[in-house]
Symmetry: D3
Subunit: 131 residues, 6 copies
């Protein structure tokens, strides 16, 4: 637990293999990234989090690439290095252009800046926003 044990498919229990198989089927790739290999130490959590992720990334009203951009934005603000790497890779796989990436980074930077300034100056919420 002090360091993480990554569980490979070959060493996984049938319960974990079933989730890994589902991840591969849904994502149409054999690649299982380390997050799931780490969670495989906790089969109940693996199942719950994978089902959640499947539901949240299911086709909906937001474009699949947009979902990755939002995920990156949160991961940067929370400073999750693993998540920034994995979701940026996902966004590239889903067709993110260099121009979109530049705009994403610029927006993340500006949001941080105005977040800090609005908080620092203690700006009250406009009544117009509370209607």
């Amino acid at each position: 637990m002090a360091t993480v044990n990554l569980i490979e498919y070959e060493d996984a229990s049938p319960e974990v293999r079933a989730i890994f198989d589902d991840i591969r089927a849904v994502r149409k790739t054999d690649f299982i990234n380390n997050f799931w290999k780490a969670l495989a130490n906790h089969p109940t959590s693996l199942k719950r989090v994978w089902n959640d992720i499947k539901e949240v990334f299911a086709p909906g009203e937001l474009d699949p690439l947009v979902k990755e951009l939002i995920y990156i934005a949160v991961s940067v603000a929370n400073n999750c290095d693993y998540c920034i790497h994995s979701h940026t890779a996902n966004a590239v796989a889903k067709g993110m252009t260099a121009g979109q990436y530049e705009e994403l980074m610029a927006l993340i930077g500006m949001a941080h800046q105005t977040n800090g300034m609005a908080t620092g100056m203690k700006v009250p919420v406009d009544p117009e926003y509370l209607k």
Copy 2:
């Protein structure tokens, strides 16, 4: 400074009025929200931040609504109450549907969850993501 002084158009210097006029022209509305009235105490900062915002929100490769969703995502992670209110209002004004909002909140929640778990388990970045 202990509380913020909100500068109204009528009480603003010509320098500040020029920025307020530009905000109104670019946004096609008379409404100036409190963030800018607070920044108006610091005309140099007002000018710099407004020019930055104008550049970052200029037409580009990301949809204007998507830009607001990304801004909301960062603001939630940074817990900037003012910014959550203002950019959610902006997103509504730009046509965010109830379904898109539900997906945004769900994604923000899930990203926080997996950010926390990946960080907590100390998951190493996959070599595949470093290519």
Copy 3:
């Protein structure tokens, strides 16, 4: 505990009164702010945190006002509304000028921006910084 109980001097135990007296003596003011009244529910913590604060704010190589500016910067990044209010008031009391406050807010904003961008782009630390 669900809401905080603020303990006034009149209602405090002799142990808490002794700390309150020391706060008043060190700060040369009768005013005891709510943070200490809240901590007074936990006399051991009150004593430990007050002694820490006294030591950290004791005369040293950084100017007393600079110490408050640093405290504000951390409090904004951590989004502690109480702490932003109290330390901004302290900074004003220690002579912070309007120009210094503008520069402080501008720096906090820019630091947030470049923090977000450096983290988002996963910029590696320069070897020059590791010497």
Copy 4:
């Protein structure tokens, strides 16, 4: 200062050695972890922080293992990689089971998720919680 200088016992001043001796005595181990070797550059801080830690981890109403779990939870949310490693190792040393660790990671993940959603949706505190 650009990188940290870790001070070993052999190279430490008598003042620092006294604290290191106390750390070893209280923890019943010869091992001094890097946090203290780093703080040893600042003897006043070393003494203050060690005394604080000793007081906060002194026997009380919370179980020593529970204290480590709480420490891990904060460290994950603050994304302190060093602290996650050291306090997870401490928790293992204090008997944390694999099942407890799974529950800890699951709770940390869920707390992050609902934190993000409650903040994002701007949920008002129930009057029942303010009684």
Copy 5:
């Protein structure tokens, strides 16, 4: 969406009422707190998050009160005012003593302090923690 609409039981759809009924049954109380009334705008999310919470708080190897303390610790670090209020109220309901609460606040404070110092000094993880 700019402000949250809290959905009461009487106005809820049968789908939402079923979840509300389950919350009441599991928690053995008629009280539905605002978080769920807010999530009720998004029935899919309501169902997913409630099922997750039920699973994470199901009887396990950690004491129910300890789970609340961990939840509070994360919520404080993430600065979720709603979550701090609700989980502190839960902890009180589950029997948290004044002494436990003092120790919790003291630990949260100290963890924040050493998190900040370890990060600030860039302390490298001890090889002993990576075994």
Copy 6:
């Protein structure tokens, strides 16, 4: 984009070279640190952020070293490892003494501690701070 591409002066466009030349001229050093080499993938952002940094660090009412200390404080709270390294190096270059560094780390630690405790205890802002 999955990993960052650092653009060296020799490989840069004339537009980027002009900014790099300006960085060198303003800072009176040939050294261009990785943050700018990373931003050089996005020339519009490079120009905007550099101009902002130049403005924010222009001579003003706060001492240049104090500005670096504030930048470090924010970077630690946001846990930006790159920024902590670069601005600590800058502070050293601008003459930060060992004593000032100790006080900075101590203040950052204490601010984190009291931020966490004030937030955790839900301390209300004193009316005196809202005048």
